[in-house]
Amino acid sequence: MWDAIRSNQRKSMALIILMGVLLVLLGFVIGMSVDPQIGGAYGAIAAVGIWMVMCFVALTGGDQILLMSSNAHQIEKRDAPQLYNIVEEMTIAAGLPKMPAVYIVDDHIPNAFAVGRKPEKAAVAVTTGLLKRLNRDELQGVVGHEIGHIRNLDVRFMTIASVMLGSIILISDIFVRSVFYGGRVRSSRSSRSRDSGGGQLQAILLIVALLMAILAPICARLLYLACSRRREYLADASSARLTRYPEGLASALEKISGRMLGALKVSRALAPLYIVNPLQGRSVFSLFSTHPPTEKRIQILRSMAGGAGFLDYEKAYAKVWGERKRCIGAETLQSEGERIPIRAPIADIGNRQDAVKQAQEVGDLLGRILNFLLIPCACGVRIKIPPEFNRPEIVCPRCGRKHPLSEAQKLTELTDSPTGDPVVFQGQRTGWKSVQCSCGKNIQISPKFSGNSIRCSQCGQEIQVISK
């Protein structure tokens, strides 16, 4: 399955090369504007040189700098056995050659990140806030995401890309400043132009160089961010594939994003390494964000209906973003021969479920008194709609599925005059359940479904669902 990541990597590679071309071009044009004869080549070489030196520093010392600056300390198994076990599990699932070191950051804000330019020398760090708030399945989803970053060599990749972006910004900045404030470029240029007699050409070159210096950082940043977002989706897909339980990561993201009120103290350059963007309270999607919007990520994970493989993630991605969008690539999907089934959640504490149920019943009663329309969504949410609501459809706040309202209303009216014998389904709600309607159609019930009845999509008959 991991060979298959290559197609995605090739696309990211193309983006990196594009950024490299931009860097060389920038150096070339700036060099040309200084000296039209030989300046171009020197400029290009200087630009690449700056990038290489910065890359070397970032790749050899970057891990330790990041871990130290975020105040992380390494732990052993006895310090946090569950976290350690989960990292071990994900290491096995991903087939990493060596288990990454486990670090804990003393911070009440839940977040996690991974470092390591090689899978052999990687580390996973989580905050104490994350450990406190997430249950086992959710923690597994988050660790799976980080291990996914390590397995897909994202850390090395994003380091190279961010250094490239940094070099482009640095070079442009120096050039623009020297033109506007220094005047040194101008004086050396005028002395030379007398010899060559190409004053006009050089003036044009200077304007081109200035334009480049202003536009290149913007283009490079857009490329970089597109890359970063793509990598986040891929890590999400990897997490679902590794844990075989997309809901774990989905509900973890929900919890984390809900609590991102105070931002972590993180420098901008480190942001792509975190599981949720630490710099934004509520992530607003734009071309200028390192992470895809958390709500969309949750929606995609929750829409993975049939299985936990890459194929299912791709389908869910298309469902959320529109039919023609792709994020993983056809090659991956072909190579995934076997279907990866979603596993059952690890049993939760019983009392909590009862409390949720009680709250739901009270809510239902209130809703009925106020004449609210209740639409049970397939993801488990019951959407309550006030009678004044008059739009044609409503989007489920949790999974993003659209429910046409006119039909729902029609259906509630139909309930008053039942046709045929009522089918009653009784069963425990621990996994997916299948019911056969009297018309012969099979209906699947999600383990998260919590309504009292479902309606057959073929004959429209209501089936009562009674949970034990």
Partner: protein
């Protein structure tokens, strides 16, 4: 003169082709060996985790006994299943014994639900976490093993690797199948 030149040219041509073929053979052969080692390693990982589970069980049984000594039947069943699993040899027999052990452990864990004191015991909680994690690791190791075997088997069957595999005596590896039907069937949902 021209004839001898062309003969030398042909010889050169054949020589170059031979060298290319040999180099290609070596690369493909080494790739196959690496994959076979990966399959072995993946299997070894499953083995390690199964052994870990065997090691955890005596401790678990002792702890449960302290609170629920009269649940003799289930406890003995677990102990019996464990000793069978430890003694089993050969892959199919071992798989069967391990499956039985999983079943017995599952029943024990269901039973534990009725003892709130036991569920609050720190020692038991730690053991339960270890057991859950080990079960997970067995599952993930199996998944990884099957992934690796699939890659290996596909390689062996496709051109041009299949020629090298036939010469080098590489044979297909078996998947590690699970007998739980529930885990195999993915629910089909249509909205």
């Amino acid at each position: 003169m021209t004839a001898s030149v062309s003969a030398i040219g042909a010889l050169w041509g054949i020589g170059v082709i031979l060298v290319v073929l040999i180099v290609a053979f070596i690369i493909i052969y080494n790739g196959l060996v690496r994959l076979r080692v990966e399959v072995k390693n993946a299997w070894a990982q499953i083995d390690v985790q199964l052994k870990r589970r065997h090691d955890l069980i005596p401790n678990l049984v002792e702890t449960v006994k302290g609170y629920a000594a009269h649940e003799r039947g289930t406890l003995e069943e677990v102990i019996r299943a464990r000793s069978q699993a430890v003694a089993a040899t050969g892959v199919p027999e071992r798989m069967k014994a391990e499956q039985q052990l999983s079943g017995a452990l599952g029943r024990l864990m269901l039973l534990v639900e009725q003892y709130p004191d036991l569920k609050a015991n720190q020692n038991f909680l730690a053991l339960q976490e270890e057991l859950t994690s080990t079960e997970n690791k067995i599952g993930f190791a199996r998944q990884f093993y099957n992934d690796t075997v699939m890659r290996y088997n596909t390689k062996i069957q496709t051109i041009p690797t299949n020629f090298v595999a036939a010469i080098g005596g590489f044979s297909q590896e078996a998947f590690f199948e699970v007998e739980e039907a529930a885990e195999r069937q993915a629910p089909q949902v249509k909205f």
